[in-house]
Amino acid sequence: MTTNTHGLRDWLLSDEPTSRRQASLSAWYKGWLTFRSNTLAMLGLGVLVVLILAAIFAPLLASHDPFAQDLGARLLAPGVDGHLFGTDSLGRDIYSRILYGARISIYIVLLVAMVAPLVGLIVGTVAGYAGGWVDVLLMRITDIFLAFPRLILALAFVAALGAGIENAVLAISLTAWPPYARIARAETLTMRNSDFIHAIRLQGAGHTRIVTRHIWPLCISSLVIRVTLDMAGIILTAAGLGFLGLGAQPPSPEWGAMISEGRKYILDYWWVATIPGLAIFAISLAFNLLGDGLRDVLDPKEGTS
């Protein structure tokens, strides 16, 4: 068994890869080693894994039904009557709500992280590849969206579409794509006239094929870094929408909405608003640490050690 792992390790770290597959796996593995040596990034990853597990196993871990009200047991302090984090203004168990709320946060982040970069990627690569008036038009539209205050634009969209998680996701994605479009366009511009693209074109590949098969894969790594660094921002924006009452709707245990409900009680019952606040803080910090570490691995020129 040990020899086997050693063998694998050696194979992965080989200086003379024998196949493309080995070379790429080797690059990934070396990246992972760099990443692993970054304590803070590992901490971030650890926190995220814990949160994701908590979200998945929420029904098993929860001590109460997150929606069950008990007006007789409202605003109990943490630890009282088996409520780990206390209860809220309607007597619901905050610990269980936080667990279920993690599902909502992760759901929002995943959806936005899929939608926004994709839109940005399409707009940016098309603009960069096509050039000319298409480029001017698409970039002008990008500028228009960039010139909007982000939260206000998201607010406007949610107000137009109606409050709710899906619409919040859509609104956040609509405000989040322009930076990705710019990155993708910049990358495309550097590649458009490169020799290998010319070579592919000479082989008779169509534009769609060049963009989707050859340009997109090369844009991915810079987009991934950017997305990971943006995750925290996405969570904070979603929480901000929830705080303003435009995100997930009651009785859903969305963390931002929980802070909003709890702020009324902050003077005497600090935990009602503080615990979801800490939860948001923990998940965004974890994403930031992770993003920071990823950047060190994938984009060494800005790295630390």
Binding site: G162, P251, S260, L267
Partner: protein, 533 residues
């Protein structure tokens, strides 16, 4: 308390510590009243147009009316103010007011019957939202020159289309729209025939104790004494109302002595103020009702048994003892307590078994999906979630549709809701203000478009009950009128698709030296001129 300090030290460590700044002075000047309130609803000060709570608070202190309430004796009902006395003709249709002496506008002009004629005619002619309070007596833009007339400087004659109960008419004149403005000042500032409307939105020219000197929308209103005020000089020479959204903030400001009065304290913050030195809380029953209403266009909700089951599965006491504690009292009739003829019985309690049994008798024993339209205010969201919970216990699948005030209202007026959860405040201090909307809907057709009537909004056609409501406004025997309203409410309570739940109690926190703060009871608005400290 200990937890608060534990939190404090943790947060201090986490935050950038600010430099130790000069502590802020902790007392307001003795001749100045400083109030924290939510005033972002103020759009205008023009009495012909103003129709918001915070606007009424300003208006009452700025404009005098023909008849008005004495803040220190609200129970006495309307009293002479700009009118010294009045007489009713034998047919009951003509009221002749004799104007009082010694009232002067803040501009220095004396108040005359001509100003009163101008102000009332103007309110009818401008035809803004609150104008129905006057036009219900038969005044129209076409006939005001004959029906509202000042034959001389000290006499005003109103001619009504029916012999209404005199109390009904005079009560209506105490509403904001009855405020008398300075005709000369208003007409000097007229633009495009608007009778000074644009100018009066931001400027006040009344004969009341105060005048507005500065208004920053959604920020603050600053009032100084009217130098020409005819009455006894108020102790408070300047009144500042600042818009503070958060209850917790208002409480902190009150505890620290930065403000004299906090008007939007949550039950928790009121409880938190208990035992704090130098602070007291004064309770006052207000006229606002919290209710839900079932749209009769929804087949299931048109089944009276279903609505009755919902009434039995509402946790009235549970809510009023928890998140509404101290701020809403259980009340189940459409007239708020202290109104003439208010019914104080509360026949419905929280009884799941009874609710289930009632539902079983209905055409929908399994209940079904119900959407509750509710606006995004915390108190209403809490009530909505409680209804969602308890109605769920009898098998109804409840979804909350949360929106801004305008969104929810829009659906309500378009009769597109299932259940609307909302509040209703009286427009003028007469029982007809609520009877005329909860129990009046002579034409239930969509074409009628009677969007102002709650019964119409819920598609509840009640030709017979509407007759009874109409009969009550022309009954001049007060005792008989009271009995009519009691009977009307008792019937309404049982058969209507309205689940009236609570009546508001306003809990105002104030520094303990503040005396005579009267928010206006169920009938009127706040009166700053009697306050001392």
């Amino acid at each position: 308390m200990k937890l608060r300090y534990a939190l404090a030290s943790a947060a201090v460590a986490a935050l950038l510590a600010g430099p130790g700044l000069v502590p802020v002075s902790a007392e307001t000047p003795p001749n100045m009243l400083v109030i924290a309130n939510r005033i972002d609803d103020i759009k205008t000060f023009d009495p012909a147009e103003s129709f918001e709570f915070a606007g009424a608070d300003v208006s009452r202190n700025v404009y005098e009316k023909l008849v008005n309430f004495d803040p220190l004796d609200l129970d006495a009902g309307y009293q002479p103010q700009l009118a010294a006395s009045w007489e009713i003709s034998d047919d009951g249709k003509t009221i002749t007011f004799t104007m009082a002496e010694g009232h002067v506008f803040s501009t220095g002009n004396p108040v005359t019957a001509k100003d009163a004629e101008f102000s009332l005619r103007r309110a009818v002619l401008l035809n803004k939202t609150p104008s129905f309070i006057l036009t219900q007596f038969g005044f129209t833009p076409e006939n005001v020159e004959q029906t509202i007339v000042a034959p001389d400087e000290s006499t005003l004659v109103l001619t009504l289309d029916k012999p209404y109960a005199i109390s009904f008419v005079l009560n209506c004149l105490t509403a904001t729209i009855g405020g008398i403005v300075d005709m000369q000042a208003a007409m000097e500032n007229e633009v495009d025939g608007d009778m000074g409307n644009a100018w009066l939105r931001t400027n006040t020219v009344g004969s009341g104790p105060y005048k507005v000197v500065d208004w920053k929308p959604s920020e603050s209103v600053l009032m100084d004494l009217n130098p020409n005020y005819g009455g006894e000089a108020p102790a408070m020479e300047r009144v500042i109302v600042q818009h503070i959204q958060e209850s917790a903030t208002q409480r902190l400001q009150l505890e620290r002595g930065d403000i004299d009065v906090a008007r939007n304290l949550s039950p928790e913050d009121v409880a938190g103020l208990e035992g704090v030195d130098g602070v007291k809380v004064v309770d006052e029953l207000r006229g606002r009702l919290m209710y839900w209403a079932a749209n009769q266009k929804n087949e299931m909700l048109a089944d009276p048994k279903v609505v009755e089951a919902l009434k039995w599965s509402t946790d009235y006491a549970g809510m009023s003892d928890s998140f509404l504690k101290g701020q809403y009292t259980v009340h189940q009739a459409f007239l708020p307590r202290t109104f003439l003829g208010a019914l104080e019985d509360t026949p419905f309690g929280f009884d799941i078994d009874k609710a289930k049994a009632t539902l079983a008798e209905s055409g929908y024993p399994e209940c079904g999906p119900i959407k509750i339209s509710v606006r995004d205010a915390q108190e209403r969201l809490d009530i909505g979630q409680s209804l969602q919970n308890t109605w769920g216990q009898i098998g109804c699948e409840v979804e909350l549709i949360v929106g801004t005030g305008a969104q929810t209202l829009d659906r309500y007026r378009a009769r597109e809701h299932d259940i609307y959860l909302g509040a209703w405040g009286p427009d003028y201090p007469d029982p007809n203000t609520n009877a005329g909307t909860f129990a009046f809907n002579p034409d239930n057709s969509d074409e009628a478009g009677a969007t102002g009537l709650l019964a119409w909004r819920n598609a509840w056609g009640i030709p017979e009950m509407s007759e009874k409501t109409l009969a009550a406004v022309v009954e001049n025997d007060t005792e008989a009128r009271k009995e009519m309203y009691l009977a009307l409410q008792a019937e309404h309570q049982q058969v209507s698709p309205f689940g009236v739940m609570f009546q508001q109690i306003e809990q105002n926190g104030m520094r303990s030296n503040v005396e005579n703060f009267v928010a206006g009871g169920a009938t009127t608005a706040v009166s700053y001129w009697v306050i001392t400290k």
